[in-house]
Symmetry: C2
Subunit: 212 residues, 2 copies
DNA sequence: AATAAATACGACCGGTCGGTCTTATTTCCG
DNA sequence: CGGAAATAAGACCGACCGGTCGTATTTATT
């Protein structure tokens, strides 16, 4: 019995704080996030937060890590339950668009928002974001490569290019859905990938029929 | 002789200030942009700025307008010098990628950065950004439609969808080029559109040969 | 040459920022 | 039960924020 009720309680508190921080950061930015503001929203004092993270930067890094975990749970995990190949790629994209459409986060996408925010701000936060982005790209390329190896995509396919295109459709959805017509945006994001995979995949039965 | 040297001088100053503001906004955000910081970089006093714009918000709106003008000059205008149709579409995308690759703005893309920053912040600045984004989309769709009307793209093409895909390739380039490998990013952004247009355009001589 | 407008300045305001310090309360372990 | 550790609170700090004010300088008009 090594479980210490004190640290367990602390962990629960920390996670709850970070979930709020992730959401708040999509509204005001990861840098614009103020300790007092976050404390207020949680009904907690500012020094209560400093007890958990020694500085704002430590809180920012923890927030990035929490957002990664959320992304793995909500987007990557559901996709991994689909069969390998183009169906898994499609499921991944669908989960992402659904995540945006469900308005889970007020600002749409934590990573899109923060990576644009920090793309000209050197420092540990930027490095952590770049690392997460790199891992996401590697993951996406792995899924594409698996589809190639299964014969569901052409053997001479430019794997990183298709991964780039898929991610581009998603990022664009995060941006347009908050500034322009959301329904048209989600339609384009979904249809864009579906058409692309249909054109590449020799077996049309692997993909849903959907709209033309 | 209606030219007033006073307002002419003022206009020159204003434009110079706004150019700096556009660049600075891509680093620290349009909201993160502080009056004192901007004044410092210009070697000017803070109250000197308030003589031109009565509030920070007025400065932000003027900065957005200036960024729109820059975009028209650097991306739209060169494209309009290419012949209508797929060649013009290609020229537009090339000008955009070249703009990012030349590192004209330290943060890559003013609009990508600010639109993500403001996508959950209601107010006049957001409205101005959304309006600019809407006009850009309309412009892109017009260029695609022209290519269809010229017979350079299929008659049954989903015009808004292709416009969405083209813009997505560009936005993604702005994001990835600052966080991951820039060269690979530009290659993907360029090749992505080239492959797409080649697959759709019945006359292959209209597009450069480029890499496969 | 005199005047009015535009432009720019330095000093200053109240407020919020990230961060520190001291103190009090809760919670588990020995 | 006693004590150490974790958690939380509030007062406070210097720095910077957006913004105002009174004033000085430049410049075109009359």
């Amino acid at each position: 019995m090594t479980s210490d009720g004190r640290v367990a309680r602390g962990d629960r508190t920390r996670t709850a704080v970070l979930d709020t921080a992730v959401a708040l950061a999509t509204e005001v930015g990861l840098d614009g996030l103020s300790l007092a503001q976050l404390a207020d929203r949680l009904g907690v004092s500012k020094s209560g937060l400093f007890a958990h993270w020694r500085s704002k930067e430590a809180l920012q890094l923890a927030t990035v890590d929490r957002a990664v975990t959320q992304w793995e749970e909500r987007i990557a995990a559901p996709a991994l339950r689909a069969p390998r190949g183009v169906r898994r790629l499609h499921a991944l994209h669908e989960a992402r668009i659904e995540f945006y459409a469900a308005r889970v986060l007020p600002g749409g996408c934590f990573f899109a928002n923060t990576e644009f925010e920090y793309n000209a701000r050197p420092g540990p936060v930027r490095d952590r974001l770049a690392e997460a982005f790199g891992r996401w790209t590697t993951f996406l390329e792995r899924l594409v490569r698996e589809a190639v190896e299964l014969g569901e995509l052409p053997a001479d396919l430019d794997v990183p290019l298709l991964a780039y295109e898929i991610d581009a459709l998603g990022i664009s959805a995060a941006m347009r859905s908050r500034m322009l017509d959301p329904d048209a945006t989600y339609r384009h994001a979904r249809l864009g990938l579906l058409n692309r995979l249909r054109a590449l995949c020799p077996d049309p039965t692997l993909l849903p029929e959907g709209p033309s």
